[in-house]
């Protein structure tokens, strides 16, 4: 199967995130990393491609920067990458992003599109469904398990009370949770090969998409901070303080 995996480069979540004071957009350094959530999609895509003699193409929108996040995914084994970068896309919402990704994916032959359930930096959680609608394919979302058999994709879809088994003919879009597979670590060989793989960086003009602004941020403010209480070192008796706290809260 030909698999397309949607990937995103994000600012390293280990450092605090900042909004630009003027635009209110998230500040993005040039050396963004692969969203950890996407490693699961890339791994799942690679497994399906390996089982079916196919290949994995990465599609990503956002400032290309050093492309180190994309190379992380290529080093895992993806064959090539398409990156859409355009100044007009700064601060794009999920609907704009979905239109851009759909236009890029339609230029490829695909049987399976994989995305994370939501990005770590944006957390919108609706983009894959918008993308599936634009591609005219079913959206199998929140997959915690995925298997393929003769052109049918079957997943376990997480629900609030357990999971449903859902199956669909291809082409289809699947969103995966971070429990779906154990992502492989890039090998040294993979990292070396990734340097030579094709990364096609294109702009909006190449896709014929012109985004329109349909929402605007009107206010950004700090939330009232929760006042932190006492922090104590356990000297072997700290459990008594927890008992006291539970008594004060009148739950015991």
């Amino acid at each position: 199967m030909n698999v397309v995996v949607c990937t995103k480069q994000i600012p390293d979540p280990a450092a605090p995130y900042q909004l630009d004071a003027e635009t209110h957009f998230l500040e993005r350094p040039t050396d963004q990393i692969l969203d950890d959530t996407d490693r699961y999609g890339v791994e799942m895509g690679l497994q399906v491609a390996e089982q079916t003699d196919g290949s994995v193409t990465l599609v990503s929108m956002g400032p290309a920067g050093t492309l180190q996040g994309i190379r992380q995914a290529l080093a895992m084994g993806a064959a090539k990458a398409i990156v859409i970068e355009d100044p007009a896309l700064r601060g794009a919402d999920s609907w704009t992003t979905a239109q851009v990704l759909a236009a890029a994916i339609k230029r490829e032959e695909f049987d399976l599109v994989i995305a994370g359930t939501e990005s770590t930096d944006g957390s919108a959680g609706v983009l894959p469904q918008q993308l599936a609608e634009l591609l005219g394919v079913p959206s199998l979302t929140f997959a915690k398990h995925l298997e393929q058999e003769d052109g049918t994709i079957r997943i376990q879809r997480q629900t609030g009370y357990g999971y449903d088994v859902v199956e669909s003919p291809t082409p289809v879009l699947v969103t995966v949770t971070s429990g779906v597979v154990e992502p492989r670590y890039p090998t040294f060989k993979g990292i070396m090969e990734a340097k030579k793989k094709s990364i096609d960086v294109i702009g909006l003009g190449d896709l014929g998409v012109s985004p329109t602004l349909t929402q605007r941020i009107v206010e950004v403010r700090s939330a009232p901070e929760r006042v932190s209480g006492e922090v104590i070192e356990d000297d072997g008796q700290a459990y008594q303080r927890i008992v006291q706290a539970l008594e004060q809260a009148k739950v015991i």
Binding site: E133, P138, G162, T214, I242
Partner: protein
């Protein structure tokens, strides 16, 4: 202002988040309408009436995954009745339908919201970002309907505005290949103790518990307190507990009287699901852990040493 609430049926009843949204919708309009996706029943419709729904557009489901066809049905209804706002809950199916509807109608959707503000014709969505540290308000600037996805527990669910709603049934349209997915099985995980979302005490486990075996401490403490058990995503991904225990951005939102965070560092994605607990007690060996910044009581220490003593003390009180 015409306000609609999309509600999915969950195990035969309106999903609880739908009742939260309907409660909010009553403050925005005198006549909230509900689009109800599921088998439907007189009891379910009566319950929606007791929360003030004046009209119910019932979209019955079959064994197909309904998201694509439900979005098409909603788009058609919207074309006929012209709502200003459609509210969705932040649940898997609601997100599927909202996303597909957005693309079908060529409209944006603002998701992950915690409130909707209406001022005349203007509609603004309030979001909490960076684990709740910052608040962002975003106004819609284009065509209606404005599509909003709201987080669980953003509003209390309170009956009111009792009505006997009119029910109009709308068939799922044929959307071809996009609607081809089938639901072939459904598994309900066995759970003991109170529901996580409704529990007044939650005892939650993080990676710092060290191993799946050590979670027996969490289980015992929860039993003693009549608490529900929660977990971080890392613990769920490790396969130690099922996803239904997950608290946070991609899991459940809880607002208990007491939240006991055991071996939890306090990543943004977890905090967003529990920061509104009345009292937060945290045990973690790393004194720099962000969880301590929002804790009422923080214990720097080995959770696997503190918990057995706490359990012993509570057992002695019984």
């Amino acid at each position: 202002m015409k306000v609609w609430v999309f509600i999915e049926e969950s195990q035969g009843e309106p999903d609880p988040i739908g009742l939260e949204l309907l409660t909010k919708a009553r403050t925005l309009t005198d006549a909230p309408a509900v689009t109800y996706l599921g088998k439907g029943s007189d009891e379910a419709f009566a319950q929606l009436g007791s929360y003030g729904a004046t009209t119910i557009y019932h979209i019955p489901t079959d064994d197909h995954l309904p998201s694509a066809a439900a979005a098409a049905a909603l788009a058609a209804l919207s074309g006929t009745y012209d709502p200003d706002v459609i509210m969705f809950g932040s649940t898997p199916t609601d997100r599927d339908v909202a996303g597909r509807l957005s693309a079908r109608m060529g409209l944006p959707v603002i998701s992950n919201g915690v409130d909707v503000l209406v001022d005349g014709e203007s509609v603004t969505v309030v979001n909490e970002i960076f684990g709740g540290g910052q608040i962002v308000e975003t106004a819609f600037a284009g065509r209606t309907p404005y599509l909003v996805v709201l987080r669980p527990k953003s509003f209390p669910a309170e009956p009111g505005g009792q009505t006997t709603p009119t029910v109009e049934t709308v068939a799922l349209p044929d959307v071809g290949h996009a609607g081809a997915a089938l639901v072939t099985g459904s598994h309900v995980e066995e759970r003991e103790g109170p529901q996580l979302e409704d529990a007044s005490i939650v005892v939650a486990a993080g990676r710092g518990m060290g191993s799946a075996e050590n979670l027996s401490l969490i289980q015992r403490l929860a039993e003693l307190l009549g608490a529900a058990q929660g977990a971080t995503r890392a613990v769920v991904d490790a396969g130690w507990v099922p996803y239904s225990s997950q608290v946070g951005q991609t899991g459940k939102t809880v607002k208990p009287d007491v939240y006991i965070a055991c071996g939890i560092s306090g990543a943004m994605q977890h905090v967003v699901g529990m920061k509104d607990a009345k009292v937060i007690i945290a045990i973690n060996k790393d004194e720099e852990a962000p969880i301590f910044a929002l804790s009422d009581l923080g214990i720097v220490g080995d959770v696997n040493k503190v918990l057995p003593k706490l359990i012993e003390a509570l057992e002695a009180r019984k």
